[in-house]
Amino acid sequence: MTVQVINPVTTKGQLAPFADSKALAYCKALSQALLTEPPAREHSDLMALGFWLRPANIERMLTPYKELKLRPLGHVFHAAPGNVDSLFVYSGILSVLCGNLNTIRLSDRAGGSAQVLCEVVQGLTAEHPEVSARFQIIRSPRDACELIQLQQQVDGRVLWGSDEGIQALRQRTIPAHARELTFANKLSFAVIDIDAVLQATPKELEQLASKFARDNLTFAQQACSSAKVVIWHGNLFNKEKAQDVFWLALSAFLTSEQGQGKYPLTESEHYRALNNAQDMVMSGLASQVKTCGGYIRMAVDSLHHALLGEHQGCGLFAELHTDKLNDLHSQLTPQHQTMSYWGLIENDVMDWLATCLVGVDRAVPIGNALDFNEVWDGVDLIRAFSRVVV
């Protein structure tokens, strides 16, 4: 069994202080490469990553932590997820900025944009040997001996994946002192206010549709923060009217010059969504399947826990109604991650969120669901990748 290093360097990696200037320079160079190199520009997720890595954003993000005495954790092993090709860079880079040595194993399924990303990262090794040595990306069989040995010596481990995948990876022991972070499968939902949709101007509706598509149809709806459930909030009497208006706007956007071909699903993804919907209806989980061109709608009566395991994305939206946010409390579980919302007042959402003792790790306006935050699934990654010295 072999381990293949994507960005090999001859320099040996050394721990660095928090927000080390070489690490900042690396982020800047990676940002520039992603935002300017033609192959990277073809992938919207890489563009988003390029923006996130801009010096101003990194600075904004790190500033609040500078007053803490942060020291590196040590050597961190990351198992990257296969659903969102570029996700491993966010957590990997944060760990680099925290001064750690990092080994990142790419998923065997890592596809299109991961390949481009690897090439960009390779291009940075000559000018940034020290930081590259702390940001080693590998491809290897999951059970390679080298990988098992490496995990026996790490100071931290980050596992992204399905629940069963994480449990399988957890079988490999890590030292007693090592810290482990797991990011398992999660379900996200969008909340849209019924009356707000009916009062929206055509322009506002078009923007809503465009943002909704970006959040939920990028990566074929496979990202954990993409909504699989749409919750209609408010006036039940107007619900169907608002649904018609909204879905019509989404269909119009997806066939418009701006939206056409932007979120392509393959034939078999379309088929999978239809089969998935039919299967869920037969199991009693959902009802009323409607195929609408690029996506499928179906009705559910709650944020049923089975949706997490059953719903396979690919442009399938389960819809339910709630009079008010408070009625959702009893349906929330620790598996509910992102709530994206539209037409609700931010303060109201935040007030409600303050009362959620279970579930919902973040609430963002529709359009920002895929933005990466340094606090993810309720974990402050910068603190998690550091030792806070007092």
Binding site: N83, G111, R142, Q278, M282
Partner: protein, 358 residues
């Protein structure tokens, strides 16, 4: 009305008559399954308006038969369960037949095959190993196919050994005895090609059958990977076996009665009790004749389980109706292989299922 259709030749009913009979039959089946299969009713619970077009018949996606048992009969009436693992995974489809549906299936099969084989039961050479039908409780698709067609022949001879090597002695004996007269050969496309035609060629063996009909089925995927076209398949078969009329057929265990045999022109023909539509992935609307899309198959036979209207995972296109050069009535079409499978991504990412259980 299915009995009306069964009286006539399967390729003799022109579109206007066929449409009327199909609509009525599919209507009755839809209502029947709504009343007798709870899961089906859950999905299609609206009262059925009289269908004015075949495209209005609701359809199930084929993997549902792998995902759950779907039947419209009480369990004590189950006479036979057909299974197939297909290519999508290890979970097989389970198709529940009662005695009536099983009987109808056999009758239709005979009716269709007689069109290509004649009414005589011919000596039959099976391009498979005898072990494939030995386990009688669980019919595999291959076993069921062979079993189903066996009673159209006599003097059944298996051309392959259990290890898939050629049983030269058996083939020789069969040829010596029947080679100068009409014979019936049957096998799965890939088996016929790989373990039959190619193996014969490798061993430098040729037989000069005078009047053989080879019926084969099972998909071209593996052959396409080796760039083997239907023309190549047919001509190489003749090179090794002599005068052989080769007919491919398309069908699936999930829909009994849908046996679409390729005519001399290479076109797959709908028999009178079955039909085909082509739908566009995504909006799932029916596309105009000639356009490529995903095949929907409809059949009047499935009564013991709700399989009368199925959206397949295969791509294809309609080539025409009632006007094929071969003279047979009905729609004719071609199959263009399976939809391209994408890696299941989901959050099932860092974990590869093949490594499960470690």
């Amino acid at each position: 009305m299915i009995t009306d259709l069964l009286e006539a030749s399967p390729y003799s009913v022109a579109s206007a008559d066929k449409k009327r009979l199909l609509l009525r039959g599919l209507q009755e089946l839809t209502v029947y399954h709504q009343q007798n299969c709870l899961a089906y009713h859950q999905l299609f619970n609206e009262p059925v308006e009289p269908f004015t077009d075949i495209s209005a018949v609701p359809f199930l996606t084929v993997p549902l038969f792998k995902q759950r048992p779907l039947k419209s009969i009480p369990v004590e009436q189950v006479f036979k369960v057909l299974t197939s693992s297909g290519t999508t995974g290890t979970v097989p489809s389970r198709i529940y037949l009662d005695a009536d549906t099983a009987k109808l299936q056999s009758r239709v099969l005979v009716k269709i095959m007689q069109e290509w084989l004649g009414k005589q039961r011919l000596p039959m050479l099976i391009w498979d190993s005898p072990s494939v039908i030995k386990s009688r409780d669980s019919f595999t698709a291959r076993g069921a196919g062979i079993q189903g067609l066996s009673f159209l022949g006599r003097h059944h001879t298996y051309a392959l050994n259990d290890d898939m090597s050629l049983n030269i002695e058996a083939i020789n004996t069969f040829f010596e005895r029947f080679g100068s007269g009409p014979v019936f050969m049957f096998g799965f496309t890939f088996m016929v090609w790989k373990f039959g035609v190619q193996a014969l060629k490798e061993q430098g063996l040729k037989f000069d059958f005078q009047n053989a009909v080879l019926i084969h089925s099972g998909g071209w995927k593996k052959l396409e990977d080796e760039a083997v076209t239907a023309e190549t398949f047919n001509s190489k078969t003749e090179d090794q076996l002599g005068h052989v009329r080769v007919h491919n057929f398309y069908g699936m265990v999930e829909q009994v009665g849908s046996i679409f045999v390729a005519c001399e022109e290479g076109h797959l023909h709908c028999p009178s009790y079955a039909d085909v539509l082509v739908r566009e992935p995504g909006n799932w609307q029916v596309v105009p004749e000639g356009n490529v899309g995903v095949l929907q198959v409809l059949s009047l036979l499935p009564k013991s389980y709700p399989g009368h209207s199925l959206l397949t995972e295969d791509r294809g296109r309609i080539l025409g109706e009632d006007n094929c050069n071969c003279g047979r009535k009905g729609k004719y079409f071609e199959v263009l292989g399976r939809m391209e499978k994408v890696e299941a991504r989901g959050c099932s990412d860092t974990f590869e299922r093949t490594g499960a259980g470690q």
